[in-house]
């Protein structure tokens, strides 16, 4: 095996470990998702938008830079930071199953800090369970699966399935495109439903 390919293998493992860090620490995941959404940001932006203390913000940003998932895009002060794209596919040895760790999953984990439904779900089912729920959330918005099918497959109550699907809906709409389905209020043939009468 050539030197360069050995090195590339090492990069993959490094990415894998960095991403595992993100998935274990919702604050880091939240920061990564923020940078991915903003494009570029300064530590001052992070402090203001994520409501972090200055020391905490610097420490988190530096950790993400050290692990390689965030890069410095402008070295002059104030420094600008940007998220590096994450797209890591994990395959089982049998080769029959694979899962791609996407920014959507990191975003979902990051929302644990601010969304009690996601927090509760991770408490009960772990980040691995959340990854599964996210797959169902995408399929449901595509009209391929219902909350009841998810509940049956995962042996949880239909209500618990609906709660996590709704909690993840903003995440999947942020990261994927869907065709609009079903009628909205304007298409209902109902009196003048919104008049103040």
């Amino acid at each position: 095996m050539s030197r360069t390919s050995n090195r590339a293998d090492g990069d993959i493992v490094r990415d894998f470990l960095s991403i595992a860090d993100l998935l274990e620490e919702p604050q880091l995941a939240q920061l990564y998702a923020y940078l991915a959404q903003e494009g570029e940001a300064t530590v001052q932006d992070v402090i203001e938008d994520l409501d972090l203390a200055q020391g905490t913000a610097y420490s988190y940003v530096n950790r993400l830079v050290d692990t390689g998932v965030v890069e410095v895009t402008q070295d002059e002060q104030p420094r600008q930071y940007a998220a590096r794209a994450i797209d890591l596919t994990v395959t089982t040895t049998a080769g029959d199953r694979e899962y791609t760790i996407t920014p959507a999953l990191i975003d979902a984990v990051g929302r644990r800090e601010t969304n009690s439904d996601i927090d509760t779900y991770i408490d009960r089912h772990g980040v691995a369970g959340l990854a599964t729920a996210l797959t169902y959330a995408v399929a449901r918005e595509r009209g391929e699966v219902t909350h009841r099918l998810m509940a049956e497959d995962l042996e949880i109550s239909p209500l618990a399935a609906e709660m996590i699907l709704q909690a993840l809906r903003p995440v999947v709409h942020e990261h994927y495109d869907f065709e609009e389905a079903g009628a909205g209020l304007g298409e209902l043939d109902i009196g003048n439903g919104t008049d103040d009468t």
Partner: protein, 169 residues
Amino acid sequence: MSQLHIADTGLFVAMGQPSNSRYQAVRQFARRNDITFVLPERVYEELTVDDLDIEAPPVDDAIDEGWATVAAPLEFSEPIVSRAMDGVQRYIANADERPADEVERADAALAALAAQHLSAGMVTEVYIYTTDIAAGEGAETVLASEGYGDSVTFVNGFRFIEDLVSNRS
């Protein structure tokens, strides 16, 4: 012209608690238009399940306030009711490439309830409010094949509530 408004679990989850502006917007909509949301029995059972991790959606509040009610059991002796049931189960199974007998019957209960009321001539228009696109589109498709294409509308529960809330603000 009489209408039937069938609500699925997701609509009540999406409203939040009674202190939430989404809940209040739906209640105001129901009251102004003299609408009572009808829940299939299975939907009511889902919403009132005993799960310590979950704050129960306020379906009993809505029932007490008079703008939601639980439907009587489905009349499976009516052929159209069982046909609607089977049809929607097949539709959803097909969307997810799984056997129809694995599809939860509550998904199909929305369409079956609509079919029962339409065929009895009790209503001329049915709105099905759900957050499950497969269930909503399945109901529209199957009831269209029964000749009720113009009488059934799948209302996307999320869009409906978002529209109501943005109208209020």
